[in-house]
Amino acid sequence: MFEKILFATTASPTCDDAAKVAFELSRKNHSRLSVFHVFGLPTRGFGLEYRDVRTGDRVEGDENLVGLVLEEMKQYYEKQAKEHPGVAFDALVGEPHTEILRKARKDDVNLIIMGAHNRPEDIGASRHRAIAGSTMQKVAKSARCPVLIVSRPCVTCWSYFANIVVATDFSKASDYAFQFARNVAADIGCTLHLFHCVDLSSENELHASNQAAIEAKVREAEEKMQGKYVANMGEFDNYTITIREGTPHVEVLKFARESKADLVVMAHHTREVDPEKALLGSTVEQVVLRSACPVLSVNHPDKVDVTPYGARPESD
């Protein structure tokens, strides 16, 4: 399904849940897996110093440094790599999100897998760290390929997924998210749940509306679902349609829990928010933060067609 997968990691326990998914998914799909770690910010000019991304310490770099970090990464993922001999390790100094995006473009990867990068020892800190511009958000916002964010242990293997929820706001990016989710659901053979929430949050003009206006919006959304998505299902018929009203991220999470979702697929760029300003508090970030299952962010039409990358061998 995915020819090339890029697993962007801190090579620490915070990415263990994502590592499990990355190694398992690439092994099952016979994908080329690249494990990538950006470990420091370069200082000005061409100095040999860099600042450690985690601690902020100034560290003197030398030509052996990258080699040492690579060795450490290989040791950390030694067990998983044994079952996946083709895995490639890479590390460098740089701005993490820039380097991850650069590598994804250069290697033409089909999927980026990341953790949400919170430190487990700081319980509760995710409310600041995960909201205020993390690497994950910057990558999810700008990547041209789908980005899978795994912040909780994923207890179901990708190929055994039974329910995929695609949450749409009918934006262009949501259409790509739908196409990707439909293709994956068709490939795996699972149920696709199409979901839309009529936004009744306080910022929205509908807040003051009466019930009739809300119901009109729901009917309008139903028509859009039929025209945009049902009409484009092709031969795939294992799907449901649900429309709710409320606060989008709350309703998406509630629906994902009710429908026992194994994966939530969403567009990062919402219709209402300029993509450049969508860094803080967009629906997808709120969902990523609290979702019990992995969340996949899709923004571009690139790589949404998952079928040409080779059929899965029958033995799997």
């Binding site: 910010l41 600042r51 991304v53 985690r54 601690t55 902020g56 487990p120 700081d122 319980i123 509760g124 800190a125 409310r127 600041h128 205020a132 511009g133 909780r152 242990p153 207890v155 179901t156 293997c157 055994y160 039974a162 606060t247 709350v250 999470l253 509630k254 994902a256 829990r257 026992k260 979702a261 194994d262 933060l289 609290r290 019990a292 299952c293």
Partner: protein
């Protein structure tokens, strides 16, 4: 000062408050002995206005009706604790000061992340108010712990934030 009773009553000077709890949001809180997470839901049930503090509360209250009425306490988890953290962050990004509440478990004296527990399995675990952690510049671990007080709003908002994470499906692990 307001007191939260195990049966969810909100008391001031030994007497239950009336129908309007909102003026008490800024009062400091004392959790009386026997206060559990179930007591927290009973409080929200008695005062529906308080459930508006967090968008996930109404959904949880709906589910609460279908949960067992007793013996909802996982082995090994001693109590649940609300703590406040004041953290100076110097890097990466611009230096800043984060202040937040965390609601976590305590098992054998160690803090424990609870979001992987089903919410209905935690209902009869005692709830306590913990101290304030002052963390200076993250990884160069300088952590100080102080006594502190919590307002009614702190309790509602802090516990509500954490409970919004709960919803790990049980079916997944069965399918594996």
């Amino acid at each position: 000062m307001v007191e939260l009773q195990p049966d969810g009553r909100l008391m001031e000077r030994g007497r239950p408050i009336g129908d309007d709890p909102l003026p008490y949001l800024s009062n400091s809180v004392q959790l009386n002995p026997g206060f559990t997470l179930r007591s927290f839901f009973l409080l929200l049930g008695r005062h529906p206005e308080l459930a508006r503090v967090n968008r996930f509360f109404p959904g949880m209250l709906e589910r609460y009706g279908s949960w067992p009425e007793r013996d909802c306490r996982p082995a090994g988890l001693d109590w649940l604790q609300l703590t406040r953290t004041v953290e100076m962050v110097g890097f990466p990004g611009k230096p800043r000061l984060d202040i937040y509440h965390a609601f976590h478990g305590v098992a054998a004296g160690e803090a424990l992340e609870i979001k992987s527990y089903q919410l209905e399995h935690l209902l009869d675990v005692p709830v306590r108010l913990g101290g304030l952690r002052h963390v200076v510049f993250g990884d160069k671990v300088n952590v100080f712990v102080f006594e502190t007080t919590y307002t009614l709003f702190d309790v509602l908002e802090g516990i509500g934030w954490q409970l919004a994470f709960h919803g790990t499906p049980t079916e997944c692990s069965l399918r594996r």
